[in-house]
């Protein structure tokens, strides 16, 4: 009983910081409709800045409060700057590109933080008053946890007052309902958006600063908190503060008990609870159906089958690729092997994202499942490579069907966030379940069979399976299945009225995408000889997104072009120190310059050129 009570209090304390982060995220989304991936980075900056301030201040309580507020304020200013410099330019861009641009920001902030604060975890030596304990019902309970428990509801109260008792709050709520109408009424949207973003950033910074005394400021906290915050926001209902508070309590308490009782499956538990909530209430606990901003749904140009010019180009590229081992050195060959893997990884994401209209932010999960399936076949079963390569797509596809059965009911950012949360959980399982996955050390010695052990043979195998797999997927997209899938994306209402099963089409596309990624993961595992949890990590999911968007979502050749150019970029331009900042800036530049992707831009230019020719 005592233990349960203590766990409950710990959970509530954790819920407070989680709420602060989620509140900022949900307020920003409510007004700007941008899902801010970099919100975790602001949380991380809050923690680092708080460390810099607090480690220089006297160790009295009043200075602590001052330091924490200072860190929150500094983060708010940084947030305002980011809004003015980047976000303002992409409010009218498609949702996905917004998410991607803010992920570019995540990468930049990571390297900036690395540059300023270094790679070591920074913790605060806690003053005596912070270390104290309080007797609660005869139990000793850390004083600081109690402080945190109080902070959550207090901040919620203040925010509700701000939104319901001030003119600014009124405008924010009005903009959340209908931002076009608010603009039509002559309110300066730019000031409103910047101030909302600053408020949200400040809340994230406050959360980071308050979390500092219990842990440390480190370079991993951005991505770990953003996945949790997404879960909280989705469970609470996008845009609802009170919903976020309730969801944070739910998740925080669940995690505290989970860690005490069944540490290994805590995150799985969180995902199951989220699934249960969303099945009963698809828009979250207190969420309403999203009000669409007007005039943003634009018709997509029809996808044309490749013309003769493109066929010749593709054939030449394929022949060059097949002949590569005769002229390429070992390094180039391994880059090309990776490019082949990337082609299938990107093509499989494209199936669900382009024609399926379902953007996944967790595609690396299936890649990782495939890689671990191959590792399991090799180490656990002692089976040959063929068995591993066969097992991988089935394992990944089956799991994708299981998760997809529930995920494909969602759409838009909800779907993106759910896939991200699932991938994060898969990553955590791989990371924590040391007995099976080897944890951070990974699984080593996943070697190909002797006949495929030399580099050229392995490369040809990768080319056959991955590029072959991508071409098979492409074929399916031009077959009746692909037409039907696009039909459900264009208009589910009309698709059902002509007799198509929209849900099942989306579901199968999800499973197919998972199976394709699983196969690419297995090939990668044999090529590298090892499997690590990072295969499933968020940055790898984003790699896939960048590849697809780089190529252009609405072109069928897009993923192939995108995957190859991304791999080349990665191998030559993005090596060495501070590659994140380069990649981040590149992503942002691409989003700003080519909203339709490279292949999309090329095909538009081609159409223009052809249009001008007689």
């Amino acid at each position: 009983m005592d233990l349960i009570f203590l766990q409950l209090l710990t959970g509530l304390a954790g819920a407070s910081t989680l709420f602060l982060v989620a509140a900022g995220l949900t307020v920003i989304f409510g007004v700007t409709r941008v899902v801010n991936f970099s919100h975790g980075s602001l949380y991380m900056l809050g923690a680092f800045i708080a460390w810099s301030i607090l480690s220089r201040l006297p160790r009295e309580p009043e200075y602590f409060v001052l330091g924490v507020l200072g860190a929150a304020l500094a983060t708010a200013v940084i947030g305002a700057l980011l809004e003015v410099l980047l976000l303002r330019r992409i409010y009218r861009a498609p949702e996905l590109l917004q998410l991607l641009a803010t992920f570019g920001m995540v990468l930049v902030v990571q390297d900036v933080a690395l540059w300023i604060w270094g790679p070591v975890d920074l913790s605060l030596s806690r003053p005596r008053w912070l270390r104290g304990a309080v007797e609660v019902f005869g139990l000793r309970f850390p004083f600081y946890d109690l402080v945190l428990i109080v902070v959550g509801p207090v901040v919620l109260g203040l925010l509700l007052l701000l939104f319901h008792r001030t003119r600014w709050g009124l405008l924010v709520r009005a903009a959340t309902q209908d931002r076009d109408m608010v603009a039509a009424l002559g309110v300066d949207q730019r000031v409103l958006f910047t101030s909302v973003f600053a408020l949200g950033a400040g809340l994230a910074g406050l959360g980071g600063a308050l979390a500092l005394p219990q842990g440390s400021a480190n370079l991993h906290m951005d991505l770990s908190v953003i996945a949790e915050a997404f879960v909280v926001v989705v469970v609470g209902g996008m845009g609802s503060l009170t919903g976020a508070f309730l969801a944070a309590l739910l998740i925080g308490v669940l995690q505290a008990f989970g860690i005490a009782l069944v540490p290994k499956i805590t995150l799985v538990l969180v995902f199951l609870v989220m699934a249960a909530v969303l099945v009963v209430r698809p828009h979250g606990l207190l969420g309403k159906p999203q009000a669409m901003a007007r005039g943003e749904v634009e018709a997509l140009a029809p996808i044309r089958p490749a013309g003769p010019a493109l066929h010749v180009l593709g054939l030449v590229a394929l022949v060059l690729a097949i002949l590569a081992p005769f002229f390429a050195g070992p390094y180039l060959l391994s880059v090309l092997t990776e490019a082949a893997v990337a082609v299938l990884f990107a093509a499989s994401l494209h199936v669900m994202m382009g024609p399926g209209g379902m953007a996944s932010f967790g595609h690396a999960a299936w890649f990782g499942v495939g890689a671990y399936a191959a590792a399991f076949a090799a180490k656990g079963l002692g089976a040959g490579m063929a068995a591993g390569l066969l097992l991988a797509p089935f394992a990944a596809g089956a799991l994708a069907l299981l998760v997809g059965a529930f995920v494909v009911r969602m759409s838009g950012v909800y779907l993106a966030m759910l896939t991200l949360a699932f991938a994060q959980i898969a990553w955590a399982v791989a990371f924590q379940w040391v007995e099976v996955t080897g944890g951070d050390n990974g699984v080593l010695g996943v070697w190909p069979d002797a006949w495929a052990a030399d580099k050229p043979t392995l490369y040809w195998l990768a080319l056959l399976l991955c590029v072959g797999g991508a071409l098979v997927l492409r074929r399916a997209l031009f077959a009746p299945f692909g037409f039907a899938l696009r039909a459900t994306r264009d208009s589910a209402l009309r698709a059902e009225a002509v007799g198509l099963d929209a849900y099942r089409l989306r579901w199968v596309a999800f499973g197919l995408a998972g199976a394709g990624a699983g196969l690419s993961g297995a090939v990668f595992a044999y090529a590298k000889g090892s499997v690590f949890p990072t295969y499933m990590a968020i940055p790898h999911s984003v790699d896939a997104l960048v590849m697809v968007l780089l190529g252009g979502v609405q072109t069928m050749a897009g993923p192939i072009v995108g995957a190859v150019s991304f791999t080349v970029l990665h191998s030559w331009l993005l090596m060495g120190e501070f590659w994140r900042i380069k990649l981040g800036l590149l992503i942002m530049a691409l989003v700003l310059a080519f909203p339709a992707g490279i292949a999309g831009a090329a095909s538009a230019a081609w159409e223009r050129w052809r249009g001008r020719a007689p």
């Binding site: 018709a299 997509l300 140009a301 029809p302 996808i303 089958p305 074929r475 399916a476 031009f478 077959a479 009746p480 299945f481 692909g482 037409f483 039907a484 696009r486 039909a487 994306r489 264009d490 208009s491 209402l493 009309r494 698709a495 059902e496 009225a497 002509v498 007799g499 198509l500 099963d501 089409l505 609405q554």
Partner: protein, 247 residues
């Protein structure tokens, strides 16, 4: 025998009973109009017949088959074609691909993963497009069509399933007067030649009285009158509902 029979349909949204006991029957080859002022329950009625809404009470029969609450995609396979008040087509495809997709769906061929779809059902698709006067626009993207052309494309999509019944919600909304008459004449021709039953809602009284064989008048969830256009036009209750004068 009637193509479609509905008996005692009711649907309640909270305290508001949108449809309060409606019964109707549509005969083969007949153009039946469902009219009424705003909020009379036309769309609710329509959505219960088309499978978008499940009635609280009542039965819908297609031929002899009870189809109450059946999903739209199953109705489509039983020969119910549907057009929507706000047109819905596959905007990222060409006009012909739209029709091909509908034909593939109706032939239960959507789950084929290999042979290219744009070579399938070509002749049938072009025949349907000629039927609705869209053959010359077959290669254009559906996303750029003029509104009247979209309505005609929708009709072709609805006809792809060789329907026994067409449900058309405001088929001429948003069209120019000349276009309206042409579209309704086209639908009427299809109804006559192929024995298709057509049930439509409409705001434009010229369309209703010029093209319907029979008219049902709905007010506050109930049928208040039915008969030939001339009978309905003369009915004092209908005049009261539309003109607000006491009967």
């Amino acid at each position: 025998m009637s193509v479609l029979v509905a008996e005692g349909l009711r649907k309640r949204f909270g305290a508001n009973e949108a449809v309060a006991g409606v019964s109707l029957a549509v005969e083969p080859g007949e153009m039946l109009a469902l009219i009424g002022p705003n909020g009379a329950g036309k769309s609710t009625c329509f959505n219960m017949l088309g499978g978008q809404l499940r009635p609280d009470e009542g039965v819908v029969r297609l031929g002899e088959r009870d189809v109450t609450g059946m999903a739209p995609r199953h109705l489509a396979h039983l020969g119910v074609g549907r057009t929507f008040q706000i047109t819905a087509s596959f905007a990222s495809m060409t006009v012909r691909e739209n029709v091909q997709t509908a034909l593939l769906a109706q032939a239960r061929q959507a789950w084929r993963f290999w042979r290219a779809a744009d070579a399938q059902h070509v002749a049938q698709a072009e025949a349907l497009l000629s039927r609705v006067g869209m053959a010359s626009q077959a290669a254009r993207p559906a996303g750029v069509l003029a509104y009247g052309d979209l309505k005609r494309l929708e009709l072709a999509l609805a006809l792809a399933g060789k329907p026994v019944l067409l449900l058309m919600d405001e088929p001429t909304a948003g069209m120019a007067p000349a276009e309206r008459a042409a579209l309704m004449a086209l639908v009427r021709g299809i109804a006559r030649e192929q024995g298709v039953a057509v049930l439509f809602t409409e705001h434009d009284m010229d369309v209703v009285f010029g093209h319907a064989d029979r008219v049902l008048v709905l007010d506050r969830g109930r049928l208040i009158a039915q008969g030939t256009p001339a009978e309905v036009r003369a009915d004092p209750r209908v005049r009261a509902v539309y003109l607000g004068t006491a009967a």
